[in-house]
């Protein structure tokens, strides 16, 4: 009796095809570990695993292919080894790499029968969605948050793609809310993490994703004040290690800066004035408090306790930074510390500083446990949800492989016990989607010669008949539009347009615009006497459907086609956000973006006016 008898019996004619299939799994985290087990035991012939991340202690409560001794090792490699040990008959290949690396190009994607996304961030998900559409390979997209999970099969031209509906993007806050007029605990946490910590121990000129600069112009004067404030704080940094350091920092950020803010009467007409803290007074009161209070992470600390943790963690971090500075040579880049939610020293500092600031502004204090979640963008994750979600991925894969697209479903797991699993029929592609509702083609480019002008004049205007109103964009932003012609003479390589990257041409014709045109760059050396840019075959580009509502855009996050994050939108959502913590590619989350719950946050001052449109769940921030 063969070991695959049960699979043969139940899967029937599909089974031989499964055995011959070469498939790709991106992300070897929570869903990925479970998925790999299921794929191996379902009998898929060859499985490729891509993951950039390494194993962390907090993964072990669910990512069962990893153990204590694997911490800090590559997830992709260890997952492969662990799975191979249990089933030596399957061909497994692991890539400890970023899925956005150029080696994973369209041709490579085309070599797979099916792709599974088990990722934890929007950016990589969008990228894989796009690559699978370009390669015309079915994609099974999945994600979990706590008890919730979701699986979505995506087939080019037949179903919605990942970007057909817009997704939540990490929340950002106006600089003035964070620096001058906080009204919620999260504002103080962002301040402690992205301003104070960075100024004290990091690289201060680094751009912070949580800061929304769109309102800077309206508040030019205050922004200038804030800039000077940062400068002054940076000067204090020079006295790190001295006895007076803690007092200097404390007086600067919890007294002087607060008093300056307090003096700006206009600011406090509708808000409660902040009250500066007094170093000596608090320090006296805190004399009996031991630094070990930092270990009590479930309760909100008192002023004295926060003060003690603040001073103690400042000392610990200063020592660390100075030790590593003394160990590096003069020529090398100065060492810095980076906030990491799992690094106790950095977390203590951020928690205590955030709470002291909350106390100043009369905002509720939070426990270290809660602050860790908010500052570290922690999403709850458990084995059971991952197990269910991964199995549902495989079941949808069976439908896709059978060609039963009509029977494939968007599947949801819910916390409610009324049904456990819910499903929904797959929607057809959104004709206005900026990713799949587009015409796609490759664009053959001679990298030595091709300029943007070659594309704009020869291909778009002359050959395809575009009028004057259109723009050429890539994932970084707009390269060309009627008001932006500086780049025309530049070569593609100088614009960062490389092989296997994408350009999107958006027709802004008022009368009858074309659907978006997505061009995948294929580099090739072309004879000198031919045009440096050309299309491999004739294109007939459809016009946008009329009357269809345009999707609500998220600026730069929608289809990666334009680079400006529009401040007037912070994301809309149709279903739920898909975040699988610690799964696979993590470069985004390691930076600790703050992700807010998707529902409208409270409106307690004039900074943000948030309207929760209950019809479609859209959240709009007016400015």
């Amino acid at each position: 009796m063969g070991r695959d008898r049960f699979a043969k019996q139940s899967l029937g004619y599909l089974y031989p095809r499964i055995k011959q299939s070469r498939i790709l799994m991106i992300g070897a985290g929570g869903i990925g570990c479970e998925l790999l087990k299921n794929l191996v035991l379902t009998g898929f012939g060859e499985i490729h695993i891509v993951d950039l991340d390494t194993i962390d202690l907090s993964n072990l409560n669910r990512q069962f292919l990893f153990r204590q001794e694997h911490i800090k090792k590559s997830k992709a490699l260890v997952a492969k080894e662990s799975a191979a040990k249990f089933n030596p008959h399957i061909k497994l290949e692991a890539h400890h790499a970023n899925i956005k690396d150029p080696q994973f190009n369209i041709q490579w994607f085309q070599s797979f029968a099916l792709v599974f996304n088990a990722l934890d961030n929007l950016d990589a998900r969008r990228h894989v969605n796009k690559m699978c559409l370009a390669a015309d390979v079915p994609l099974i997209e999945s994600g979990t948050t706590g008890f919730n999970g979701q699986v979505q099969p995506i087939i080019k031209g037949k179903t919605e793609c990942y970007d057909c509906s817009t997704k939540d993007v990490p929340k950002s806050f106006p600089v003035c809310t964070i620096r001058s007029t906080p009204s919620q605990p999260i504002h103080c946490i962002v301040w402690a993490k992205s301003y104070l910590f960075t100024e004290m121990f990091g690289t201060s000129d680094e751009e912070t994703p949580e800061f929304d600069h769109s309102e800077d112009n309206e508040n030019a004067k205050e922004i200038e004040n804030l800039r000077q404030e940062s400068q002054a704080l940076n000067n204090i940094r020079q006295s790190m290690g001295s006895d007076e350091f803690a007092r200097k920092v404390f007086d600067k950020v919890f007294k002087d800066d607060i008093n300056r803010l307090r003096s700006m009467e206009d600011m406090w007409k509708t808000r409660k004035q902040p009250n500066a803290l007094d170093f000596d007074g608090i320090s006296k009161g805190a004399s009996g408090t031991k630094p070990s209070i930092a270990q009590q992470d479930q309760k909100a600390w008192t002023v004295a306790e926060n003060f003690t943790v603040f001073s103690d963690s400042l000392r610990r971090l200063s020592t660390r930074l100075q030790t590593s500075q003394s160990q590096t040579g003069i020529d090398t880049v100065a060492p810095v510390l980076v906030f990491d939610k799992d690094d106790e020293d950095t977390l203590d500092f951020v928690a205590a500083s955030a709470n002291l600031r909350s106390i100043i502004f009369g905002i509720e204090s939070k426990s270290k446990f809660d602050i860790k979640q908010m500052a570290g963008n922690i999403i709850p994750a458990i084995a059971t949800t991952n197990a269910m979600t991964a199995s549902l991925c495989v079941m949808q894969a069976f439908k896709v492989m059978r060609g039963d697209i009509d029977k494939a479903r968007m599947v949801f797991l819910e916390r409610s016990a009324a049904r456990v699993i819910n499903s929904d029929t797959l929607k057809p592609p959104n004709p206005n989607c900026n990713v799949c509702g587009v015409m796609s083609s490759t664009l053959i480019v001679d990298p030595d010669r091709a300029t943007l002008n070659d594309l704009v004049e020869d291909v778009l205007k002359s050959q395809l008949g575009y009028g004057d109103e259109f723009s050429v964009n890539n994932e970084i932003g707009t390269l060309y539009d009627p008001d932006l012609d500086d780049n025309l003479s530049k070569k593609f390589i100088d614009l960062g347009v490389k092989a296997d990257s994408f350009l999107t041409v958006i027709d802004d014709d008022e009368e009858n615009p074309r659907v978006n045109l997505s061009l995948a760059i294929l580099e090739k050396t072309l004879p000198e006497d031919t045009k440096a840019v050309h299309l491999p075959k004739k294109l007939d580009i459809a016009r946008k459907p009329k009357d269809a509502p345009a999707p609500i855009t998220n600026g730069g996050t929608n289809g990666d086609t334009n680079g400006h994050v529009a401040a007037s939108f912070v994301g809309t959502k149709r279903k739920r956000s898909l975040e699988d913590p610690e799964n696979g590619q993590q470069q985004d989350n390691k930076r600790g973006k703050i992700q807010m719950p998707s529902k409208a946050v409270g409106v307690q001052d004039d900074d943000l006016v948030i309207a929760d449109d209950s019809n479609d769940g859209a959240i709009v921030i007016d400015d």
Partner: protein, 579 residues
């Protein structure tokens, strides 16, 4: 069974263990984790048993205290194809021990045991079940007698039991809980836990109202547009009451009228042509002005004997429930204030002050409940005192407390007919519904019966060729020669099976709707095709679903599947039935 008293462990800062469990602590907190770590789970495994192993995997990872596998089988080639926790070298060895070896690697903190004996032998002495806090029983068992015995004993001893099937593309599980199974922390949606108590305002709130709305008309547009909506509601309530015999709007029409009154207070001669805070107030009229009432879940708790008559042996739950019941009675039907405020348009200083007023009230209500708890403890001579945190959690979630009435699960029986009682009436219409997954449940029930038949035949006549016998029996189920089902409409009972294996059993009533019959036949055909084999992927999914419910039962948190869930892996659909 007396509930075990769960005390959260003293936190010594985030230890390595807490870091490891961080992502789940955010779902069930330290007390849930402590309960999980104290749990002793027993797995009585049957068949290829992958689903049982997958459940255990999902319990070992989050750190269940201990588990024991009862399974006497040796590893076959087939096991290697479906069970991830075996390897080539396991072939021919004792399956439970081999699996445990690999499962242990997942979490060294979990105590793992294996017992090499059959479930039949184990069932001969069911008192051995006593030492476990939860039982997982995978079917079909060798015969109905075993199944019946174990379920009965677990019920008698109030030990939660899960009965699980997983075959081919289908699976099922039923949960058998003690007759009274309260869940305090159901984790309700935060938005629904807000109780603003507008119809019973207290002095501090009224005082604040007075300072904010005293000169409403002379306020600047800015201030007027920033009065928190709940103060607007309170203000207009006072106006309303003055002309309505001091009564608040009571019915839908009055509320509509009241809403219009609120709306009329908004200023429209400003640039927005309206005021957001007044819009919020108007929108909240219908849901915020309801007289205090308690949920049916809480009512059941209040009415329970255990709540009314507390003793020294009463569980924490009942002592606190009793105190909250006292509060409810002495305050004319209101519950302790949860204290949370919704977001609203307001100046931040006002919002913070309002927040403080609500929090202070919540604290004083909690203090009152705590006093009652302490005096009850003294009265009945109960020690140690219940933790304040447990009382607070109950006060905050009182409205959402849920009482599950566990009942014995219906299993195929060999000695008597299944007693369907009132369930037959409830389930019959469900069977008439096209696309219902209920026939799946009966197909598994039939499978148990069929297994029981095989067992009897084997005992009477030792067949020369086991496989041949299986084929014969499988054919009989599919052809309907072993009529597997009752027809609910006419008979709420399974008929008594025949003991004589040489003759076809007595024909059973069938479904009267063709759809239900077709679904049933298809499931039976599919089960037959699976030949009692598991698909790993379906076992993994079922393992996830069951483990999730097991964790809810152990932690007594979240709302449970009550009490039967079936899964159709062809349609990727589940259904939950109360059977």
């Amino acid at each position: 069974m007396a509930e075990t008293i769960i005390t959260p462990p003293i936190l010594q800062g985030p230890t390595a263990k807490e870091k490891k469990y961080d992502r789940q602590l955010r779902l069930w907190a330290a007390n849930g984790q402590a309960a999980l770590e104290n749990a002793k789970v027993l797995l009585l495994n049957s068949g290829s048993g992958v689903v049982g192993v997958e459940i255990l995997k999902n319990l070992i990872l989050p750190g269940v205290g201990s588990f024991t596998i009862v399974d006497e089988t040796n590893v076959s080639e087939l096991d290697l194809g479906v069970n991830f926790f075996l390897e080539e070298s396991s072939l021919g060895k004792w399956r439970a021990e081999e699996t445990c070896k690999f499962l242990q690697e997942l979490n060294p903190e979990v105590k793992i045991n294996a017992l090499k004996e059959s479930i039949d032998v184990f069932a001969d002495n069911p008192s051995r079940l006593e030492q476990y806090s939860l039982i997982l029983l995978v079917g079909p068992t060798t015969n109905a007698r075993v199944l019946e015995k174990i379920c009965e004993y677990a019920d008698k001893s109030s030990i939660p039991l899960f009965y699980i099937h997983c075959q081919g593309f289908f699976s099922h599980f039923s949960v058998q809980l003690p007759a009274q199974f309260p869940i305090v922390d159901t984790h309700p949606d935060p938005a629904s836990t807000q109780d603003l108590r507008l119809l019973n305002p207290w002095p501090e709130l009224l005082e604040f109202l007075e300072t904010k709305t005293r000169n409403l008309d002379s306020l600047s547009d800015h201030d007027h547009g920033h009065i928190p909506y709940l103060l607007i509601l309170l203000h207009f309530l006072n106006i309303w009451k003055a002309s309505h015999d001091a009564q608040a709007p009571a019915n839908y029409f009055e509320k509509k009228e009241f809403k219009a009154l609120v709306e009329s207070g908004a200023r429209t001669n400003n640039s927005e042509g309206g005021e957001e805070n007044f819009d919020e107030a108007a929108a909240a009229v219908l849901k915020s002005l309801n007289p205090p009432s308690i949920s049916s879940g809480l009512r059941q708790v209040f009415e329970a004997d255990d709540c009314q008559n507390i003793k020294s042996t009463s569980a924490n739950f009942w002592i606190i429930a009793n105190a909250i019941r006292n509060f409810h009675t002495s305050h004319n039907g209101i519950l302790p204030l949860p204290g949370a405020l919704p977001d609203m348009k307001a100046q931040s200083s006002d919002y913070i002050q309002l927040q403080n007023i609500y929090k202070a009230k919540a604290r004083s209500d909690l203090a009152e409940v705590t006093r009652t708890v302490r005096s009850s403890e003294q009265e009945v001579g109960r020690n140690p005192p219940i933790e304040q945190a447990e009382i607070e959690a109950f006060c905050k979630g009182a409205q959402f407390v849920k009482m599950i009435h566990g009942r014995p699960i219906r299993v195929a029986k060999c000695t008597a007919e299944i007693d369907w009682n009132d369930r037959a009436k409830v389930l019959s219409p469900e069977l008439q519904t096209p696309d219902s997954l209920l026939p799946l449940y009966f197909a598994f029930l039939a499978l148990d019966r069929y297994q029981d038949d095989i067992d009897r035949i084997q005992k009477v006549r030792k067949p020369a060729d086991d496989e041949q016998l299986n084929d014969i029996m499988a054919g009989r189920v599919v052809s309907g020669a072993v009529p597997p089902l009752p027809m609910f409409a006419e008979s709420a009972h399974f008929s008594t099976p025949t003991i004589d294996p040489e003759h076809d059993p007595k024909p059973w009533p069938r479904f009267d709707t063709p759809e239900a019959r077709t679904t049933f036949d298809n499931v039976v055909k599919e089960l037959d095709r699976a030949d009692r084999g598991e698909l790993h992927n379906i076992a993994a999914l079922t393992g996830g679903m069951v483990a999730q419910e097991v964790i809810k039962v152990i932690t007594k948190q979240y709302v449970l599947v009550d009490n039967t869930c079936v899964f159709d892996g062809i349609a990727s659909k589940t259904a939950v039935f109360n059977i």
